[in-house]
Symmetry: C2
Subunit: 327 residues, 2 copies
Amino acid sequence: MSILVVGSVALDSVKTPAGSRQDALGGSATYFAVASSYFAPVSVVAAVGDDFRAEDRRVLEDHHVDMAGLAIFPGKTFRWVGEYGQDMNTAHTLDTQLNVFARFSPRLGPDQRKRPFLFLANIDPELQQQVLYQMEERPKLVVGDTMDFWIRGKPQALRQVIANVDILMVNEAEARQLTGETSLVRAARHLLRQGPRMVVVKRGEYGALGFTADATFATPAYPLETVVDPTGAGDSFAGGFLGYLAASGDLTLDGFHRAMVVGSVMASFTVESFGLERLRSLTPEDIQERYQEFWRLTYFGSPADAPLPVGSPRLPGRRPAGARRSP
Amino acid sequence: MSILVVGSVALDSVKTPAGSRQDALGGSATYFAVASSYFAPVSVVAAVGDDFRAEDRRVLEDHHVDMAGLAIFPGKTFRWVGEYGQDMNTAHTLDTQLNVFARFSPRLGPDQRKRPFLFLANIDPELQQQVLYQMEERPKLVVGDTMDFWIRGKPQALRQVIANVDILMVNEAEARQLTGETSLVRAARHLLRQGPRMVVVKRGEYGALGFTADATFATPAYPLETVVDPTGAGDSFAGGFLGYLAASGDLTLDGFHRAMVVGSVMASFTVESFGLERLRSLTPEDIQERYQEFWRLTYFGSPADAPLPVGSPRLPGRRPAGARRSP
């Protein structure tokens, strides 16, 4: 099944301890689309300026991303300038030039209005809401992202979006900011009461937690020797997540859990290089192999097969299991 | 099989956002011993002052902890005063009174010298080394802990200890401080080259990573609604870890992985209350149940049973798997 993403296509200038890049292809919709393209067909709704380069368009076309919804306005493409220090979990924005993106108002074509999977990337919640209104019928699954800028600036509109998405993806700081709760568990419960059936809390190098009313899932981040550039990790996570669900059609709790792992897989590739350099050049085998590595990283054997040798040291006659074999 | 722990028995005064306690039973050996006592017999080598209360001794006796190695010196028991802010991952030490602990020099009895499992809790590395010398034969498994104070103060002695333990347990900051590496993966590789066959990096609310030459393991921390007091979490982790290995006798990679989960289980109980309040009153069922919860938290289904529906969008004729079911 196919996916629609509404978000940004941007040119990023980024500096990290590993180096820097100028005006490299980026943006939430771009990372999402390339990550999800390995799993399912994806259409982008976004806006760029007339300076958008043919080679950048080709990156998306090479991934068979449907670009009918990419509007081209006179003017310059959205630009982001950022920096990361040793703590790669926090981006320092040095400059944001909205350029043509300031005039962006998503218009969905007839085909796009029927997409069963929708990702509302981090844009103005009023625009996110407009996209939802334009859908011909309720998609099977709507996933939404946001950021501190909208939490502070448009809390009302954002509340409405949160009420209307199936899955909300936020980072730790955003979860706390949205709810006033320090505990992530309480923050997630708080958000679940506002509408979504799942809340995914992204924690950068510490992985992600998924909360539903009935289950909690934890996925680690892939332990990498070097993180080159964390830009786009969250949107790549979302792309892997939704790509997996669209391809498998598995909207059970187990499916959501696996989708989180696939999201972590795709994010791990993104941060291994600047921009899209690694993410855009993967083979299916690369992805399968890293998915297997997540399995080895986390699988510790079913408790049903090997119950814990645990006893009660405090009750007479119920010594710990190991005691029988002492000294 | 039985365990020997050499460490501190202390009286802790702690303040957290959830409240405070004065002179509550604590210390690395105490947390370790109580946590491991649910799995295997454990002997403590430590020192207290003549102010050590009968009720505190009883906590350990109730857990059948062998206290023959608890020396009682004239004077006051080791006291630690600390505080945690909203960031529960970092303790702020307000006061440390070594008291009789300053005179502590571990003397192992004939039985203790034969223990197959040894935990060298966070004490002066010269004392850790003395304990190793006193062992009659090389234990099956030696696990060592340390802290920033010794990394700065006794780097040479610590290097020797690290060369002699099988498993080194440190937190993120300590791993970086010991190696000068920012990347945990590189820090762990660096430490593995110094002797241990496994390095466990504890990350507080973010769980733990285990590194060996052949495999890496990730375990989440249990997502708790409220963390009351993180004191003792690391030693409870070590207690669950070594307790499981001593009870199961499973020193394979899989065993180490499960031991990390059991460590996380025990640490999760400790932080749910002040001091030992929760850890000392567990039933075997509590422990089994939480172990099962870790399973549900992390198990996402074997990739062998359900390979990823992934394709290569960049190669002609090799569309993503999901494409076949579009639109």
